[in-house]
Symmetry: C2
Subunit: 385 residues, 2 copies
């Protein structure tokens, strides 16, 4: 096990009716900006619950944060934060609203020329507006981590950044707020959480058996509960279990002291930027290909994955690995997420474009050994053509 530091101060309020308690988590005199997306929170009652919990407080609003939140949109909220002297941000929505709100939190007090620097040059931030979250879509883990991914629409650039200053002060996870989600988003969320787990697990053995088993716990639970929550949107228990899995998949815990491989996310981001394919869906396309192409470097863990997750113990090593990858595809498709480019109307002609974009940003060696080269990226995408 490698040395590590672990610190996650986010307070989680989990369960039915927890939105009612957010008032106690926000300073009484705060000037609050509620941020949200396309307005589904107004249709499903979440907005009303939030407003009721903050009755009597100073509350402004900023809606319209889109999926893959755009710098251009978010800067309008930054302007409001500055002019209205907002000192608490409350993100109400899914990962895009949370990520976008983290950018707003970082950009508002940023002193440099252009806040895009925070993302593009990873300029460290020294202050941020405090934020809280009411999560309505289990998927990205943004509710309990410091990460944010935003897109500059002008240049079709989708990039991540992080700062410990961007931990939410609290996050409400009420599974009932997710009952009205479109099925497509439910499936995307399951795939996103599963892939986050795989990217911290499916590398090489690092003598960290507890981290391995924690990751396997999340994978097994998603496989068990994912199709259930897809089939029964108002099954509280199934949705609660998926929601908790998604948070635990990317709050830092399962990744302590072990190697990580974020190649799938890196490649997936390009497919989103180029073709506007949902984030979760890009992962379902890319992950199986990456596992297949990297089978030599990942052999020991792929065999462990085949056995512990899918119960595959018979056959040659390659057969077991192929079997586990096939099971992974079938699982993704069982929650309504196709795993081939063609299903999204994208042809192999996009592959050199993806590679050119990765190379242009210096991403020539991806993966836990930083040696997944453009040729292998091309092969991985071709497998999922």
């Amino acid at each position: 096990m490698d040395n590590f530091a672990f610190h996650n101060p986010v307070k989680i309020l989990f369960g039915k009716g927890q939105i009612a308690h957010i008032g106690a988590e926000i300073p009484a005199d705060a000037r609050i900006l509620i941020t949200y997306g396309g307005g589904s929170i107004k249709a499903n009652g979440v907005y009303d619950q939030v407003k009721a919990a903050l009755a009597g407080r100073t509350v402004l609003e900023f809606g319209g944060i889109e999926p893959n939140p755009r710098y251009e949109t978010l800067m309008k909220a930054v302007e409001i934060v500055r002019t209205e002297k907002i000192d608490f941000l409350l993100a109400v929505g899914g990962g895009s609203v949370l990520d976008g709100t983290k950018f707003i939190a970082a950009a508002a007090p940023f002193q440099g020329e252009d806040a895009w620097e925070i993302v593009a040059s990873k300029t460290p931030i020294t202050s941020a507006v405090p934020l809280g979250a009411v999560l309505t879509l289990p998927a990205t883990g943004s509710e309990m981590n410091t990460f944010s991914v935003v897109t500059k629409w002008e240049t079709q650039t989708k990039l991540g950044f992080a700062s410990d200053l961007l931990f939410p002060k609290f996050s409400v996870l009420d599974p009932e707020t997710t009952f009205s989600l479109p099925l497509r988003q439910v499936g995307n969320g399951v795939v996103d959480a599963f892939t986050h787990t795989m990217e911290q697990y499916l590398t090489y053995p690092a003598n960290a058996p507890l981290q391995d088993r924690f990751a396997e716990s999340i994978l097994l639970t998603l496989i068990e509960e994912g199709p259930k929550t897809y089939a029964e949107p108002t099954n509280y228990e199934a949705r609660a279990n998926v929601m908790w899995c998604a948070t635990m998949a990317l709050n830092g815990l399962i990744g302590v002291g072990v190697p990580q491989d974020w190649a799938t996310h890196m490649i997936g981001h390009e497919l989103t930027a180029l073709h506007n394919i949902d984030h979760g869906r890009t992962l379902a396309i890319v992950l199986p290909g990456v596992l297949s192409v990297r089978r030599e470097q990942k052999k020991a863990k792929l065999l462990q994955y085949a056995e512990r997750i899918w119960g595959i113990t018979a056959g040659s090593e390659d057969e077991r690995i192929d079997g586990a990858i096939a099971k992974t595809r079938t699982f993704f498709e069982s929650v309504g997420v196709p795993t081939h480019l063609s299903a999204y109307g994208v042809t192999v002609e996009t592959i050199p474009v993806v590679i050119e974009r990765l190379v242009s940003r210096g991403m020539t060696g991806l993966g836990e050994h930083q040696d997944m080269n453009p040729e292998q990226v091309s092969k991985a995408l071709t497998i999922s053509a």
Copy 2:
């Protein structure tokens, strides 16, 4: 899954050489009191590492905190904190030093007549001296939680208390600091961590499959790594894995949203208070008896435990349950911890005394259903006579 709040802001610094980084975690102008136990930290180099990391700082010392830390001893440290205007406590040692230091942290600013009230009457504290920890014995989980158990020697009373103000600001977990531990303490620590996990897991099904699997992850890893670290004290990886298991076993994570049963700890504390048996050893005596006596209420989880942890799937329900309990005893004994009262020179005559003490404090219904009565406690101890 029940509603829950989860919040654990402790910063963990894990691995070789991490003591060197504690200076950055303590305010530069703090007046620091280092607290420790019998002096083993001076023999094994930990004390020197701590002093080196705090060179140039204002540092006082308080040694001599005993196992099952005593109110009478701790109040001497409280006096030093008050007179010397200490504003940071650094606990260096195992669970007893950490728990004792939490009491010191709570008692020093306490305004009431007698600080024992904090423990005996659970008088909520409103302030505490901030503390950090350098853990040298993986066992209690005190390094990443708010709990403390202290003993009033005068009345032979061992009781727990807790406050969110008592989260350590940071805890250093360097497996190398544990290489010189007496084997007895290593075995005790493995049993303590295992039992903490069982007390949050072995109750009744609550539709929380991820919490179940996280708990099972810890149990399986302790079973795998415990005997290894007992046999090979300087095997860094084995010790690191046990250390991380012990922390994760009682930092709140595996217990969110599920029922808990702390009967084993309650009963064990009486055996320590009466016979001065090491805490971990009392748990090894009590847990098998509790599981056996409570087999009806715990049936579903006992069968799950038998299958997932011990691979027992054949035989009648009672046979599988008995098999799993027998395996639990064998495991405890494999790390040098006897599981019968007789091995500690204690006879069944102690049983009514234990019960009388529990009843005198109103503890007449223990367990996840608050219905484990004195008769059942008696049976549980008789089974482990």
